[in-house]
């Protein structure tokens, strides 16, 4: 009897152990299923569409494996391609320049106002992206405060405008993605033990050297995360260019939008989307390699 009892408990333990080894998969399942339905499948679909050719009526295409589509699409939209990355890079640099001091101040100098300041950083998310961009247009517009101040102090002439310029697009991108830069920077800076900075001062480093040798390296995970979170969506963005730009400041997102919804040329739109994605992937990989961030993130 005793023997049987022992046998039974071991079996019970065994099944429990088996269950436990399934747990990681069960936890992964919802995410994996979501990803395969809404990411992998559409990507495959996109890839398939990109090599189709028109078949008679508008909006109908047949699969002909025409890879020439990619070359045609690239040659036709080369300019917007470069411009997307140029604007995204500029916006990322600007956002970093604005967000770093901001995050630094919130993390180390804000005292009891820390939470209020953090809420203010996140507050723009309470309004829609589109609405904020339209508001930005008002701010930069003819009757807006920016233009009148700049005109009053003669930085720009009476006929110069700001909206419908590359400047407006880049500042719009910067403004819209600023929280994505600020929050990871803040998280990273806030984790730094202030005593390591004191230690640097104690070991003969002045303020600038302390920043260069201690604070900045320790905040690199935040810098990398923030720049990626800004650069990736900014390079694919089309709302800022659509609302704040003119035809000469269109980005690749606007081109794709036009091919899909106005020209109804799905293969070209798909080919451009695919190239944009691959280009971002390559740039990001190079960037992470370069900053040695694998170890930091």
């Amino acid at each position: 009897m005793a023997f049987l009892h022992v046998q039974k408990t071991t079996n019970k333990f065994k099944s429990l152990k088996n269950n436990r080894s399934l747990i990681p998969y069960l936890l992964l399942a919802p995410g994996l299923i979501w990803l395969s339905i809404f990411f992998i499948f559409p990507i495959l679909q996109l890839g398939a569409t990109s090599t189709k050719t028109p078949a008679g009526e508008i909006g109908f295409f047949e699969q002909t494996y025409r890879f020439q589509n990619y070359i045609d699409a690239f040659l036709a939209s080369r300019e917007q391609f470069y411009r997307s990355f140029l604007y995204a890079t500029l916006a990322t640099i600007l956002a970093l320049a604005i967000a770093y001091p901001l995050a630094y101040a919130i993390a180390f100098k804000s005292g009891r106002y820390k939470n209020i300041l953090l809420v203010m950083v996140i507050a723009p998310f309470f309004t829609s992206f589109l609405l904020r961009t339209i508001a930005w247009k008002q701010i930069l517009g003819e009757e807006g405060p920016v233009v009148s101040v700049l005109r009053a102090i003669s930085i720009i002439g009476d006929t110069t405008t700001i909206t419908a310029t590359p400047f407006a697009v880049v500042t719009g991108l910067t403004y819209n993605f600023l929280p994505f830069m600020t929050l990871p920077l803040y998280a990273s800076l806030e984790r730094i033990d202030p005593r390591t900075m004191e230690a640097a001062g104690d070991l003969y480093a002045n303020g600038l050297t302390t920043f260069r040798k201690v604070t900045l390296p320790l905040s690199m995970p935040g810098v990398v995360a923030g720049t990626l979170l800004t650069f990736i969506p900014a390079s694919g963005d089309y709302i800022n260019a659509a609302i704040l730009g003119d035809p000469k400041s269109k980005m690749l997102g606007n081109v794709i939008d036009a091919y899909y919804f106005r020209i109804v040329d799905y293969p070209t739109a798909a080919a451009l989307s695919f190239m944009l994605m691959v280009a971002i992937l390559i740039l990001v990989t190079l960037y992470i390699r370069r900053t040695g961030a694998e170890e930091l993130v």
């Binding site: 005593r195 004191e198 230690a199 640097a200 104690d202 070991l203 003969y204 480093a205 002045n206 320790l218």
Partner: protein, 376 residues
Amino acid sequence: MAQDASTSARGDLILRNLTKTFGDFVAVDDLTLTIAKGSFFALLGPSGCGKTTTLRMIAGLEEPTSGSIHVGTTEITDMKPYQRPVNTVFQNYALFPHLSIYENIAFGLRRRGISNDLIKEQVDKVLNLVELPQLAQRKPAQLSGGQQQRIAVARAIVNRPALLLLDEPLGALDLKLRRQMQIELKWIQTEIGITFVHVTHDQEEAMTMADTIAVMNNGKIEQLGSPDDLYDSPKTAFVANFLGQSNLIPGTISGNDGDNLIVDLYGNKIAMPKRRSSATGASILAGIRPEKFRIAPVGKGATGNVLNGGVVSDISYIGVSTQYQVEMPWGKELMVFEQNDDDSDFLKKGEPVVLSWEPMFTFGLDGSQDASAGAH
């Protein structure tokens, strides 16, 4: 020039009328103190007594509200931390997590523009001193607490400062490691001859390592002296209770007998050396350290000063000694440590006893103080 001060200023550390207030709170109150060059000095006190603030002002991490700090003849009061001939071992070590142990130690030397060859020589030397040469290429996170502690010391002393500040450096270590590091730190200090200023709330740590201890309370120094001096002749109830344990019994000075004072403790006449009393009036606190008491059953010969009427209320056996709590007729308990060095029977709980001790072991404190100040 700044660089000059960080390498050339040498001599005693002199604090004059140093005061630091945070709003209404006076953290350090008009502190004047000279710490001799080459000594191992401990600032001892409970948390909030101002010892860490004092240390941070010496390091330049806090600005004094008033007063001055000198190293030898050089005034450093208004210097930036990086201009001072001072290095600090921080409480949680504050090693740079992104740098290797080698680069952590080399940090200060690099800032001063020392050549790579010389840096390597110095870093290797100090790594050998702390007996961790094999860890040079590791990152701080890969080290144990004790190893990080030694690296923090190495990172500071490699710069040969005039003054090494240690802010509760052993607080995060377990008891055994702490004992070992106490001995090592003392050895390192003797070896390199730099002035060490050590802040701690652990009286045992301070007594083991320091040549001179300043006991701090409420932003002021209660008493300053060598460990044995402080232990044998505390001048205040706070020091008597904070450094080791004391039995402080209130009484009145009732007479004079040559070199001795006669003191009345709840009807028991006892004697104590005049020179060991700091009482100013007739009211006095008679202090007896627990290990100075002899405890015996009623009727067994008691000599010297005698206190009658005690009853054993608690006993704890701790190997080398036995600790007795003895309830006295006036309602207070006294603490007695008895060495377990003879075969006399243990006393039992509830047993009436007589306490006695040699008059010379008595110290007298001014009776106007709270007898429980600074008790653990």
